[in-house]
Amino acid sequence: MIREIKAEKIKDTVKRLLLQANYEIGTDVLRELGLSLKREESATGKSVLQQIIDNHRIARQDRIAMCQDTGMVVLFVSLGQEAIITGGDFTEAVNQGVKEAYTEGYLRKSVVEDPLFGRKNTGDNTPAVIHLELVPGDRIKIQVMAKGFGSENMSRGKMLLPSAGVQGVTDFVIETVQKAGPNPCPPLVIGVGIGGTLDMAARLAKISLLREIGCPNGDIHYAALEKELKERVNELGIGPAGLGGRITALAVNVEYYPTHIAGLPVVVNINCHAARHAAAEI
């Protein structure tokens, strides 16, 4: 049975999710910030964490963006193969949802139409970056992210040799966070994609940022790696806002995929503490 889903419904959902993501931080982030406030030893670090927690309360209450960098919109869409979209073009519907959220929601328009020549602002924060996958079923799952570029700019990828192994991956993650220092607005959510191809590793790193904080990878080896990486990152002492302290990472999430016999791609995608994402199923 084919199930019809109206393009209008997709537009409305994207709009609603983006407003939610920009005004209301996830309860998982808020919980981890609260725990971090208890664990942090630096007085300056504590005061930064308290500011961040207060900021989230104000954003939610006043319906105001939690961060002025309301990001470039990234969507992960899982389209059920028994669903059919009617009444309009899918991509246009998504971008219309972005446009309405960013213009009506007093969110900053941060997208330029050409990365190299002119860099003219598109004026409505479109287009979104859309990742689409086909899945069984007749529903559409839409996950949106508002990805700020203070943290995106500090993200890095590397094609490691297979011999580099766990040590090579760990060193690359630590080196990336260390080089980033205060720039990506710590405490961070760190996404690591390992395997696949160059592009797949980047996609996995981004997908890992959508995972709830406190939920480890289902594989015991990767769960252990996540724990180890979080401890190592926090040993760097970068701390809240990079001013020194025990809490540099709120979470390190790792996702993996089969790869080629000759390769070990790894991408580290850094997210700030304003880890904005929201999801819905239509």
Partner: protein, 188 residues
């Protein structure tokens, strides 16, 4: 180090050299916004020997591109952007009398040297605390480069704008000393 200092802009060199790394500061008065595109234009004007649209002597620049103001708000979300991107344009502005910068993130050695030479201060505001910070911004007006939208130069009237001295006019840098105090591993 934990004592909060209240300062009023314009920021004189005497005030600036009295601020020490780690000082918590509440800024009141007028500050100006500028980020990437505005800095590029200011640098071009200086290169051509033309006058700047704002007088920089003893002024404070805030690296920010605010979100639009919702009804009933003087300013939308307005947290700091990464200062590092402004580094290549900054030393000539400090030579012109720029006294304070508010942002977040690392600065180049060239910027720090110019700060030491001319007596300027780099303040960090908390990145991502944009809704909270916007409460201290009481009025905003565009003074130059309106075509740049959020990247235009705005004059902001602020009251008790919260920040911390992260690099003082002596070159002391909390981004180095702070993490060093808490680092428990060898750096790579």
């Amino acid at each position: 180090m934990d004592k909060t200092k209240r300062i009023q802009t314009p920021l004189t060199v005497q005030q600036a050299v009295g601020l020490k790394v780690g000082d918590n500061v509440l800024i009141s008065g007028v500050i100006y916004t500028a980020r990437d595109a505005a800095h590029r234009r200011l640098a071009e004007l200086l290169k051509e020997g033309k006058p700047l649209p704002i007088e920089l002597e003893d002024q404070v620049l805030y690296y920010v591109g605010p979100a639009p103001a919702p009804p009933g708000h003087a300013c939308g979300a307005a947290g700091p952007t990464t200062s590092t991107r402004m580094d290549i344009y900054t030393p000539p502005l400090i030579e012109k009398g720029l006294r304070g910068m508010i942002g977040k993130g690392l600065r180049s050695q060239a910027v720090i040297e110019a700060m030491k030479k001319h007596g300027a201060v780099y303040f960090a505001a908390t990145g991502g605390a944009a809704a909270l910070i916007s409460k201290s911004i009481k009025k905003v007006e565009v003074v130059a480069y309106e075509d740049l939208g959020t990247e235009a130069i705005h004059r902001m009237y602020v009251e008790d704008f919260p920040c911390i001295v992260v690099i003082d006019s002596y070159g002391n840098n909390l981004y180095e000393s702070g993490p060093q105090r808490y680092r428990t591993c060898k750096t790579l």
